[in-house]
């Protein structure tokens, strides 16, 4: 009996140990709307997803892997429009006058925040725990 209770307690605790949206959805976007702080700050999953989106939405076509090209670098210390999560969010959502497209309303809100978190990781703002320590692909090799 005690063991069963302990197991149940353990399960209960385990169930509440993490709150993570494995399957983000429209509800997730609704929850995030109007957020000023980065809801995914320090979230490894969000950074990883952001990295995927960064390629798929052609962000890497202009910013490459942080070095820049058509668009400015994201890995250096200069931030034309600000480096806070809210500022990066707005740059992505609203676009910017010198060529940054506006993604707001075209991609889900939660994806914008995932991109924000990834961009912050590229810029070195995210903790080492969450940021992937090893880049993948050809650019990482000599």
């Amino acid at each position: 009996m005690c063991r069963r209770l302990a197991l149940l307690a353990l399960l209960a605790i385990a169930c509440h140990r993490e709150v993570r949206s494995i399957q983000p959805s429209a509800q997730e976007s609704a929850r995030l709307r109007g957020a000023l702080d980065n809801p995914y700050e320090g979230n490894a999953y969000a950074i990883s997803q952001g990295q995927q989106l960064f390629d798929r939405y052609n962000c890497s076509g202009c910013h490459f892997h942080g070095g820049g090209g058509i668009g400015p670098p994201l890995m250096d210390e200069e931030w034309l429009y600000g480096s806070s999560p809210a500022q990066i969010h707005d740059s992505i959502a609203q676009g910017r006058p010198n060529g940054m497209p506006a993604w707001g309303g075209r991609i889900p809100e939660y994806q914008i925040w995932q991109l924000v978190t990834y961009v912050r990781a590229v810029g070195g703002f995210e903790g080492k725990v969450a940021t992937p320590s090893r880049a993948e692909g050809m650019q990482a090799t000599k």
Binding site: D55, G61, C62, F64, H65, P72, M75, M138, T141
Partner: protein
């Protein structure tokens, strides 16, 4: 009695006048020099050289536009490639391999922008036209004014800054075009602008491309038969490539030829006759693509167009297919990476050849093609020569599109040659890129063995001068997603230096024998255009900012100048309003190769800027951003002797002051003056001019009979530097020195002669100067005659002032009585040591002076200038004395 003077008009004028020192004059040779120099002072035109291929183009029957004539005027530069054949060759030869080392900056102009400057300036009607990178301002510089100030500048209205987000390779612009009194150029946000060349007023603009689809414009238009030909950019954005012809007067579209899609869109009709089988068929612009992918297939037109007025064909290349990842678009992907020949009136296609079918490496086919007539296998053929991105110099028959030869000019690993039977590039399958694969040592890499930077051809050497890169890359294929207005590429790339380690080269290529003749290695890719001239000098710029002149025959570096920023622009040359040859280039690093600096990219990411950053991480150590036009001027007048150029050099280096001090002087009368300005009067003139903030302009005339009348009085000049102080033909300043006749004798004889009363003068052989055959007509002669010394007196003509001094040295005479400055000058030069002693008494009886005050002279009545000169003499007396000391002028 006759008294002689230096400046000597009619003898009769002097009979009653006061005294003066003897004149020294020369005839013949000196006059010739004076005439040559006088004519050089006017706008001297280089004789027009004619070159057979250009003549044929000029006399083509079908041409109506005057651009065919204008392109021949080497004094101007009316289209970026100089001419329709795209030789970028000028027949100007004032600047040549011998004097180019004295080239100096004449003036500079800051464009006010600091992105890559790829344009070629134009010079039309003494106005220079420069287009800047986005915001694409057009400046008109007035070359008739010192410093070439901008007379107007035009800024396109309502620019869309979002265009910066779709420019793959910096916000560059490759230049403007001129026709019918208008300047045409393209903007990054997709408009062609037509501006009145005289006033800068906008005539029309036409929106040609749509930036929301990632479509922009960077190329320089070409005007052919009153049609402005403009092509789009955006091959990295899934743009559908096309060339549009706009009416030069109205800007309305006349025709548009796409480079992908059905034949009707590509203006392929019954007159289309491609040479090779693989280009024959219906709607190949659709069939060689997966369904509908031709709509985002690329094949843009952002490079160079040439025109043959005889065949009435325009030639231009098409860019890479999109996306870079080739696996998403199996098929030959026509009509990308190829070259069209079309009729300019209708745009209809005549032939096509594909450099790189199913391109795997972003080898855009848009480079320049030079139209030449060359001997190929014993026959003169009308060809086009194309140093192509894929690493081969192609020679094509430009009437049919047949490949006559394709020879590597760079290190190539991705292909093995061109099959001349089928025309097809032979791929190295091991280097094929694709999804999930990393392929290494891809040579040439994405920017090719050579990118857009145009080569030049010299008919004198028969060589093509090719600026290019020496790079390789690793590439990884990725899935590319098409989202309109965003990059559609699908590749990670890292570039690096090719074999040898040098990343750039400037080569001379012999297109007839298909071989490299000489090669200059450069640290960075050579991203500037080349300029060839009839002076056998070739110009190009380096990405560090060096503007270089090399010998067209040998490649030897003859001159270089470090500009403020890396050079990726196209140098031009022209004749200024002053008749001198100028060379101009824009300086301002950027473009794809220089994006790391112009875009301030981060070198830690080697894949940045489509992989170029990996190869250019050190560029920032060698150059910063900038945007200047730099103009160097020639070594000015072509006169006898090369050391005159040293002084032109100095005069050239300062911005020309607007005041001119016009001086009349003898072109061959040392130590006073000569045409090389080596005399002390020349030095004094320079000093005076500087004091007056003026520059000296000489009128050369021998100082003999008629000097003042023919120069000062005739209004050809305003000042003579040395005249007797009370010379009645001029208005004189205060004297600035007093000199004397001197005894000249050999030092080793120790004659110790100082006085005219010395009795030995009656027995010694004595030399005196004279004019004409009457040697009684100089003061010394007179004085001697008065003392009974006649028979022992030998006369020496004033024409040869050194002769009398020589005579003393040789021992022909024991002593000579010579006017001081001359005596000292020639005595110094003599190997034999000579003594110089002023004659005494200074004034002999009854009134025969042997000393004279020398002043500067101006026209009688020109009191203002005389007073100015007086003040200069006052202020700079010390410096004037020093000049006289340098020449050993004896003063008493």
């Amino acid at each position: 009695m006759q008294i002689l003077r230096r400046a000597q008009p009619q003898l009769q004028e002097w009979q009653t006048s006061c005294t003066g020192p003897p004149s020294v004059r020369r005839l013949g040779f000196q006059l010739l020099a004076a005439c040559a120099i006088l004519s050089a002072c006017k706008a001297r035109q280089s004789p027009a050289r004619t070159f057979p291929f250009l003549e044929r183009l000029a006399h083509a029957p079908a041409v109506k536009t005057n651009l065919v004539e204008l392109q021949q005027d080497d004094g101007q530069w009316v289209m970026p490639a100089k001419n329709y054949a795209s030789t970028r060759f000028s027949a100007l030869d004032q600047i040549n391999a011998e004097n180019v080392r004295t080239l100096k900056v004449a003036w500079t102009f800051s464009t006010g922008h600091d992105r890559g400057e790829e344009a070629a300036p134009l010079v039309v009607n003494n106005t220079m036209y420069i287009v800047t990178p986005f915001p694409n301002e057009l400046y008109a510089l007035d070359l008739t004014q010192p410093g070439a100030p901008a007379k107007w500048h035009y800024k396109p209205h309502n620019l869309d800054n979002a265009a910066k987000g779709i420019a793959c390779c910096d916000w560059v612009n490759r230049g403007c075009a001129y026709a019918n009194g208008k300047i045409f150029f393209n903007t990054l946000d997709g408009r062609t602008c037509a501006v009145n060349a005289e006033t800068g007023d906008e005539v029309w603009t036409a929106q040609v491309t749509d930036i929301s689809r990632g479509e922009s414009m960077t190329m320089a238009p070409l005007v052919v038969k009153n049609k402005v030909l403009v092509g789009n950019s955006g091959g990295e954005f899934g743009v559908r490539g096309a060339l549009t012809a706009l009416d030069a007067e109205t800007g309305k579209q006349v025709w548009k030829a796409f480079n992908t899609g059905p034949d009707s869109d590509c203006l392929i009709g019954p007159n289309f006759h491609p040479f090779y089988t693989s280009d024959k068929g219906q709607d190949l612009g659709v069939k060689t693509w997966p369904p509908d992918l031709w709509k985002i297939g690329g094949g843009t037109v952002w490079g160079w167009i040439s025109y043959d007025p005889e065949l009435d064909l325009i030639y231009y290349g098409t860019a890479n297919p999109g996306p870079w990842n080739p696996e998403q678009r199996p098929g030959d992907n026509k009509w990308t990476c190829g070259i069209w020949a079309r009729k300019p009136d209708s745009g209809e296609a005549v032939w096509f050849y594909q450099w790189s079918p199913h391109d795997l490496y972003d080898h855009d086919g848009i480079n320049e093609q030079i139209l030449l007539t060359l001997p190929i296998r014993g026959q003169q053929r009308k060809v086009l020569v194309r140093p192509e991105r894929n690493g081969y110099v192609y020679v094509l028959d430009r009437a049919t599109g047949e490949v006559l030869s394709a020879t590597p000019f760079a290190y190539i690993t991705v292909s093995k040659g061109v099959d001349l039977k089928t025309g097809r590039l032979i791929r190295n399958e091991e280097k094929a890129t694709g999804l999930g694969r990393v392929v290494r040592m891809i040579c040439p890499p994405a920017p090719g063995a050579k990118d857009w930077e145009p080569s030049a051809y010299s008919p004198l050497t028969g060589l093509v001068y090719i600026p290019h890169a020496n790079l390789c890359e690793d590439a990884e294929g990725l899935q590319a997603n098409y989202i309109a207005g965003t990059p559609y590429v699908g590749a990670n790339v890292k570039m690096y230096a090719g074999p040898g380690g040098h990343r750039g080269e400037f080569d001379a290529w012999d297109p007839v024998n298909a071989r490299k003749v000489w090669s200059i290695k450069e640290r960075f890719p050579v991203w500037s255009g080349a300029l060839a001239t009839a002076g056998n000098v070739v110009f190009y710029g380096s990405m560090e900012g060096w503007f270089r002149a090399v010998d067209a025959r040998t490649g030897q570096l003859l001159w270089q100048f470090k500009t403020g920023s890396g050079i990726i622009g196209q140098p031009i040359t022209y004749r200024g309003p002053d008749g001198k040859q100028y060379v101009s280039v824009l300086s301002g690093v950027g473009g794809w190769a220089g994006a790391i600096v112009s875009g301030q990219l981060d070198p830690r990411d080697g894949t940045a800027a489509l992989g170029f950053v990996n190869a250019m991480g050190d560029l920032g150590q060698y150059t910063t951003k900038g945007g200047d036009a730099v103009h160097v001027c020639t070594a000015m007048r072509r006169v006898l002797g090369s050391w005159f150029l040293v002084l032109s050099f100095a005069a050239c280096a300062r911005p020309a002051p607007s005041r001119v001090l016009r001086v009349c002087a003898d072109p061959n009368n040392l130590p006073y003056s000569n045409s090389r300005q080596e005399g002390f009067e020349n030095k004094i003139a320079t000093l005076v001019a500087r004091e007056l903030h003026a520059r000296v302009d000489y009128t050369w005339f021998p100082q003999r009979r008629g000097f003042v009348r023919n120069t000062l009085k005739a209004g050809l000049c305003d000042c003579v530097v040395g005249v007797p102080a009370n010379y009645e033909l001029t208005l004189g300043t205060q004297p600035y020195y007093r000199s004397s006749y001197v005894f000249v004798s050999r030092r080793d004889r120790r004659l110790g002669i100082a006085s005219l009363d010395d009795p030995r003068l009656r027995t010694w052989r004595v030399g005196v100067q004279m004019i004409g055959n009457d040697h009684v007509n100089s003061p010394p002669a007179h004085a001697l005659a008065n003392r009974g010394a006649v028979g022992n007196v030998a006369g020496y003509m004033v024409y040869d002032p050194g002769a009398i001094v020589d005579a003393v040295a040789r021992g022909d005479v024991d002593v000579a009585i010579v006017w001081g400055p001359q005596a000292a000058w020639f005595a110094r030069r003599d190997r034999v040591a000579l003594d110089i002693t002023p004659v005494s008494p200074q004034i002999d009886l009854p009134f025969l002076p042997f000393v004279f005050d020398i002043s500067m002279g101006v026209r009688r009545g020109d009191n203002a200038l005389r007073d100015e000169l007086d003040r200069v003499i006052e202020r700079r007396r010390g410096d004037i004395e020093k000049i006289l000391d340098d020449y050993g002028v004896p003063r008493v």
